[in-house]
């Protein structure tokens, strides 16, 4: 109702040029509002007419891609992987290494994929990879059996996996962190995948770990 307060008050000036301009402007303005309302009603998904039983109620959307992925390949070791670009961005990369910043539902974690020369045992690769992590203090093996990695591997090749606890240090202070690392070798290259996140945000059933699993499973080994 308050929309009409202005125009009603301006009726006293209908004889003037300014009044005609105001009137014309208001007319166009109201017309545009009316058109907008019609458009909103037509396209709003919640206002679609209910479907009747046995009858299709609208054109089905086209089939979407199940997963939209971005590919990355290690020029040094020849392995490659995919990650969903919508939730993972490259924060560092080198010929043998990719570090992704992943974010899901406001929570974040870092996923680092590292190639190592053939002959590096998976458990040794994990130890090296974890030792080289920056921004962590108080790093120690996670003794909680519930956090043990069962069925660890990379790119569907069985390997080794370890879980750690640490403090994630930043200029804002430190907070408890979870670190999990998996590694596997196909005889030509060893690949490690390490995930670091705040304990409050990552862990099994967090979604972030599922995202990391997706990336780790996607590793394609060089032949």
């Amino acid at each position: 109702m308050s929309v009409f307060v202005g125009p009603r008050a301006s009726r006293g000036t209908t004889g003037s040029l300014g009044g005609k301009i105001v009137h014309a402007f208001l007319l166009v303005f109201l017309l545009l509002i009316g058109l907008s309302i019609v458009m909103i009603v037509l396209v709003a998904p919640g206002t679609t007419a209910p479907c009747s039983s046995g009858q299709p109620c609208g054109a089905p959307p086209s089939a979407p891609a199940v997963i939209r992925e971005t590919a990355w390949r290690s020029s040094q070791y020849g392995f490659s992987l995919d990650y969903p670009g919508s939730v993972g961005t490259v924060s560092q990369q080198a010929p043998g290494r990719l570090v992704l910043a992943t974010k899901l539902d406001g929570h974040s974690a870092t996923v680092a994929i590292q190639g190592l020369p053939p002959g590096t045992a998976p458990s040794q690769a994990i130890a090296e990879q974890v030792r080289g992590l920056k921004g962590l203090s108080q790093l120690a093996r996670d003794g909680n059996p519930a956090h043990q990695l069962l069925g660890a591997g990379v790119g569907y090749v069985s390997g080794a996996g370890r879980a750690y606890v640490a403090d994630l240090t930043s200029p804002q202070g430190s907070q408890p962190a979870s670190v999990v690392s998996e590694a596997a070798s196909n005889g030509h290259v060893t690949v490690t995948a390490t995930v670091v996140g705040a304990s409050s945000e990552s862990g099994p059933r967090s979604g972030l770990y599922a995202l990391a699993d997706l990336i780790i499973n996607s590793v394609q080994w060089p032949r």
Partner: protein, 566 residues
């Protein structure tokens, strides 16, 4: 007999100190994953969300509902009947019997049943429900009566979220003068169902699903489930507005499931419970949009102590309306009391005798089903009722398609960090049925026990299913989605078979294994050979991670017709 021996040996060693129940659920923005609740608690029980706290003995005047598992005097004849009814070479092939005939042929006699009921009444145990198949009695008594009659003590607990429940300390002992009629006491606990959830981003809509699994050729022949009825077993209340939203989103005909309330039905409107029911119904509807959906809903254990699953299956068998039933929940088999398994299995066998195919999700924790409830439980374990030899166990895969939805490949669902994957492994309770044979079935892990899953379908949340719940489109995964997918696909195949003059499909497992073991003009399964379920690898032929594989539904329909017409 072998089956029973294995069961007894296992349960004797287990001591039945624990029972963990999980129900596959889907969070508001999430994937279906199994959910847990302790059933018979012990101090060692440590769930992911913390151990339930004992809060004292159950008030002796509290009324408790539970089940009495009835003796089946004709068990040996029943076993032979079930073997023959699915054997194409037998004169009894597909001569299914209804629930009343099942009761008359294999159950207690009427006088024996009446004597048992009278005996229970003298002890103030009221019979609240029975079934024509005479597999169980639903009963009600005070906690004090139960403690005294069955020689145990009911105790109260406070679980995660402060929810209270009761569970027995000690094993129920059936009084001597009832043993000719009652073999076990089931459902003496009512642990609340807890939810768990993970996140996903992009889902698979009906068009993608139908393209990936080759359903479109059936749709082009107007095979969309007409005349088929699918029972969905639910312990949460679906939202009609969500189903409407899903249908509108994807241009599907609207659906209103028929309410088939059991034991008063469910009113559980927690987001996780609703999401599970929504997902089941939506997946079934998108695959077989013209099939009638029967929502067999029962209170979860919070509202009723009775063994809810057995009661629902008994009701499905007694009604005889649905030819297919889908179950998206289960328990860690290794921790499920023998009484509950026996109660459920008798109901399942009555359903199989009636020609009803029951499909069950194999669980979402890979080879470690019990870890779903207790992160430290690293036993190789499977899910109940998925491990029943009269259930089609449905495992999980990770599906990949092209941008236009064309099937590109599939792997076993394996999420090491997330502790998720398609359930699969060896049953502790049941021997491997004779029909479970074919390439890959007997492998390095086999030991003569029932092997699951039988089949598989997309379940990885990252390649998950579009679902509409809590008023919004989201993505869901888990074998909770794979089971109704297979149920609806089976409905399509049943309609296709009917159009080709073929009778009711009945319990489909023997037929599927036979089809998979025989070279087909139209290969019915995608044999998945990549990945693991966190322990068992996917291999050529049958495997513990993906069973026979995922379906090419149109090819399978043709193969089923050829099989049944031979």
């Amino acid at each position: 007999m072998r089956r029973r021996a294995i069961s007894q040996a296992r349960h004797a060693s287990l001591g039945r100190s624990l029972r963990w129940r999980y129900v596959a659920v889907v969070g508001v923005l999430a994937v279906a994953v199994a959910v847990s609740c302790a059933r018979q608690l012990a101090p060692a029980a440590r769930g992911r969300s913390g151990a339930p706290t004992p809060v004292g003995s159950t008030n002796p005047r509290t009324t408790i509902e539970f089940s009495l598992v009835l003796r089946l005097p004709g068990q040996a004849r029943l076993t032979r009947f079930l073997d023959n009814v699915e054997d194409p070479a037998s004169p009894a092939y597909h001569h299914f019997i209804d629930a009343a005939a099942f009761g008359a042929q294999f159950g207690l006699t009427r006088p024996a049943l009446n004597r048992a009921t009278a005996r229970l009444a003298r002890d103030a145990v009221q019979v609240t429900g029975s079934y024509p198949q005479r597999t169980a009695l639903e009963v009600r008594a005070t906690a004090g009566t139960i403690d005294r009659l069955f020689g145990l003590r009911l105790n109260n607990y406070r679980g995660a979220g402060g929810r209270r429940f009761h569970a027995p300390i000690g094993k129920a002992i059936v009084p001597r003068d009832l043993r000719s009629a009652v073999v076990a006491v089931a459902g003496l606990n009512n642990t609340p169902i807890e939810s768990d959830a993970a996140k996903a981003i992009e889902g698979m809509g009906p068009a993608s699903a139908k393209m990936a699994y080759d359903i479109n050729p059936l749709a082009a022949r107007r095979i969309t489930g007409q005349g088929e009825k699918i029972a969905l077993v639910e312990f949460g209340a679906y939202q009609q507005s969500d189903l409407d939203g899903f249908d509108q989103q994807f241009g599907l005909p609207s659906v209103t499931p028929r309410d088939m309330a059991v034991d008063g039905g469910t009113s559980d409107a927690r987001a996780s419970a609703v999401a599970e029911a929504d997902l089941d119904l939506e997946v079934a509807h998108e695959i077989a949009p013209a099939a009638q959906l029967l929502d067999y809903n029962a209170p979860d254990a919070t509202a009723s102590g009775a063994d809810a699953f057995g009661a629902v299956v008994d009701q499905i068998a007694a009604d005889g309306q649905a030819s297919i039933a889908s179950v998206s929940w289960g328990t860690c088999e290794a921790a499920t009391p023998a009484a509950d398994i026996r109660r459920d299995e008798q109901a399942i066998e009555a359903a199989a005798a009636r020609g009803i195919t029951i499909l069950a999700a194999s669980g979402d924790a890979g080879a470690y089903t019990c870890q779903q409830d207790n992160g430290s439980d690293h036993r190789l374990s499977v899910s109940w009722p998925s491990s029943s030899p009269f259930v089609l166990s449905v495992g999980g895969t990770a599906l990949s398609t092209t941008t236009t939805g064309v099937y590109r490949g599939e792997t076993a669902w394996q999420d090491t960090l997330e502790q998720s994957g398609g359930g699969g492994g060896l049953s502790l309770d049941f021997a491997r049925p004779s029909w479970q044979a074919g390439p890959g079935v007997a492998n390095q892990f086999s030991d003569g026990r029932r092997q699951v899953p039988d089949v598989a379908a997309n379940a990885d949340p990252w390649s998950g299913w579009d679902a509409y719940t809590a008023g919004a489109l989201t993505v869901a995964g888990g074998t909770s989605a794979a089971a109704p997918f297979w149920a609806a696909s089976t409905a399509l195949i049943a309609q296709y078979a009917r159009q080709h003059g073929v009778r009711r499909l009945g319990f489909v497992d023997p037929m599927l294994y036979s089809i998979a073991a025989t070279p087909q003009r139209a290969p019915a399964f995608h044999d998945l050979t990549k990945g693991t379920n966190r322990y068992y690898p996917a291999t050529t032929g049958w495997d513990f991670a993906t069973g026979l594989g995922s379906p090419d539904v149109y090819d399978l329909a043709q193969d089923v017709v050829a099989y049944m017409k031979r």
